[in-house]
Assembly symmetry: C2
Homo-oligomer: 432 residues x 2
């Protein structure tokens, strides 16, 4: 058996002696890794400096102080946000401008506001405020976005996991849960290039989510379209038109869509958006008026002038892609070089978004993260993509290659691959 | 009796014939007013364009993308806000920087966040979340800020009014309510140049509010220091140091202070602040972390560079004063010219803030507002400064002279004075 062939024989098919030799190899490789004294970070889906630089013309905008309607953007008012900005992003998100609110800098805050409104007031079709329900449950596709889950946990909302598949949440599983349990008031969906697996919800899955019977009259889909425009290839996914689908299915108030420019312009100083049925928008603003006199319209005007048009946003995203795509290619290359064919790792090759989802053998994820940490490579804690941070199979690791430089991604991912190989070899050679 | 004397004889001391003649005069004056076809607006406490212009250097800031600590302000993170900005405003608000959070653009939003946290989680000294209390009551000094009251009303929180006096809330009345009723969980105080009466809470009143026994262990003072630096005269009021007073009195978690640059830089695009005990700050951030990854730090850096220092803020406020003080003088001059000595109106001559509080004869405020509206002068609805918009005596009108030009203030206020005179004369001559 040549060395080349050995390298691609699945570990599970190797003899104890071969495995022991592989383990020793990986121990040596890991020791060498540790000696390099790396300090690298693949933890969070943050844009890199080079990406942020793309938007630095914002720093000296806006020119002037009024928008196209003559509004002095410096003063109070205008809870729905500037019209031009809403029109620009309505086109990009496939909604009507009057179904879209442009808010502050954080879509997470808008999600929280909507959740709080439902807790304290209920939705427009709620029998009572959710705080007065004996139990509130959300369906959580996993792996998913940790901040979605921690927000729910902070309010004691129960979470029921369903698998996130390549075409979206396991819709049969969702249907069964939602149909029978009136405590199920909502679900999270990241429809486009989902965090972390990169899945894109298909039209068919979206249609079933929009139309499925729900025991709760006020069942909500929190449709977090955070990566709607964040393509990594020329094959640009189109997000399903959930508002129209839900409306056509007789559940117009079910979906509430969120988006932002956090990963288009500045992560801390972009503009967030909320889209929903006109009635939901009215309800949202009806509550929001007690909490705000209006969003930062200067920042709205800044963004209007920076982009110029919806096409300007698309062109801008192409420049992000030029920076990001090589980093994602580096992740794939490093994992492929070290792990392909060994049967110990599967990972996504996303066509967009900010993450790669890496599955290692059951029971190995926490070990991989610990090994990486000891070698100076920070990874998101194992389990972070699951409710309460608990991955029942301890196998999923979220990789975020956007923030480090390309060379750092290459170095870090080669190290991660070594950690995976070592952890898998340890497990396969463990006595008992 | 000369005409001059007649003009300053209280209406109540005049004969029926004299009153009838006065009524006719005012009717003629009002008819002439209506013929002018005015369109003037004294409704809201908005900065004028000239005031906003003072901050227009913000439009081309920040220079650079990092703060003094090397933080890239464009990216995610930093829930407490930039250190330099917190230090600058800590000095101005007489708090420690580590007791101060610099947030988004709206202090109203921060107030709402704190209220919602207490409703859904309770405070750190609450026996249970406020949502689980049978009743929650707030003490509301009146006249006060309408948005404070509508926020409470939106959550069904009961409001008990106490008079706002020249030295602050009627503290004996507050003490009696707070001592005996465990449902009383909080109160609003605008300590400096209060909306609308311009009162300044004295050190003595603040001390009693800080130390008074409360039936509720988690009684909160929402200390909205919106006008802390907004002086109209050289006699600059110092806000009482409520955090220290409360701490010394053994109630460190009682006050939560709010402030913002909404009326310092841009009303829609400033920076808001929250100050409280370290434990309260930790509790606030502990909840807030689920709703936000951090505030707009680019706007923080913009403000740091614009002001330069705390003294830069004070210097900037002096320029606001130059614009605002003549408008407030015009309000006083117009009311004095028409109404002084007639015994039908009292108004404040505030040393700061954004409002003049005008009291007309009981039962006349709504009539005055209606007359003004018909003459093209928009005033805040009568009763707006009271819970549920109900002034039990229908006598208070809030005047907001900041937004119109000086000449417009003069014209509008002469008109308002005519409306007051007419309404009072109508009432005094009414049969029955």
């Amino acid at each position: 058996m040549s060395t080349d062939t050995a390298a691609t024989t699945p570990l599970a098919e190797r003899s104890p002696e071969e495995l022991q030799a592989y383990l020793e190899e990986q121990r040596e490789a890991y020791a060498a890794l540790c000696e390099r004294g790396l300090t690298l970070d693949l933890t969070r889906g943050k844009p890199s400096s080079a990406q942020l630089d793309l938007s630095d013309r914002l720093l000296s905008l806006p020119d002037g102080i009024t928008d196209a309607d003559g509004v002095d953007v410096r003063n109070y008012g205008g809870l729905t946000g500037l019209r031009e900005l809403r029109e620009m992003f309505a086109e990009l998100l496939w909604v009507d401008p009057d179904q879209l609110v442009a808010g502050g800098s954080s879509s997470l805050t808008m999600m929280h506001d909507v959740l709080v409104q439902h807790l304290l007031h209920g939705g427009l079709d709620s029998p009572r405020p959710w705080k007065d329900e004996e139990k509130v449950t959300f369906v959580c596709p996993v792996p998913g976005y940790d901040r979605h889950f921690t927000m729910l946990a902070s309010y004691g909302i129960e979470m029921v996991s369903v698998p996130m598949l390549a075409d979206g949440p396991d819709v049969a599983a969702v249907e069964a849960i939602v149909r029978d349990d009136p405590s199920v008031k909502g679900m999270w969906v990241v429809p486009t290039y989902a965090n972390p697996a990169g899945s894109v919800v298909t039209q068919e899955v979206a249609s079933r989510l929009a139309s499925m019977p729900a025991a709760a009259s006020d069942f909500r889909i929190f449709w977090d379209n955070a990566y709607a425009l964040h393509h990594l290839t020329a094959d640009e996914a189109k997000s399903a038109d959930i508002l129209s689908l839900a409306s056509a299915a007789g559940h117009p108030h079910r979906p509430i869509m969120f988006a932002s420019t956090s990963k288009i312009t500045y992560a801390g100083a972009g503009v967030a958006f909320l889209a929903a049925s006109r009635e939901n928008i009215a309800a949202y603003l009806g509550h929001q008026q007690f909490a705000s006199i209006g969003p930062d319209k200067v920042n709205h005007l800044r963004h209007i002038q920076f982009f110029g048009s919806a096409q300007g946003v698309r062109d801008h995203m192409a420049r992000h892609r030029e920076i990001l795509a090589p980093k994602f290619a580096a992740v794939d290359a490093a994992l492929t070089a070290e792990l392909d064919g060994l049967g110990i790792a599967e990972w996504t090759r996303p066509a967009g978004g900010y993450f790669v989802s890496l599955d290692v053998p059951d029971g190995c994820a926490a070990r991989v993260v610990a090994l990486a940490k000891a070698a100076g490579i920070a990874l998101t804690p194992a389990g972070a993509s699951f409710p309460h941070g608990q991955d029942p199979r301890d196998r999923n690791i979220r990789l975020a290659p956007s923030f480090p430089q390309l060379a750092e991604v290459e170095t870090a991912m080669a190290g991660v691959a070594t950690c995976v190989a070592l952890a898998a070899a340890e497990q396969l050679t463990a006595v008992g």
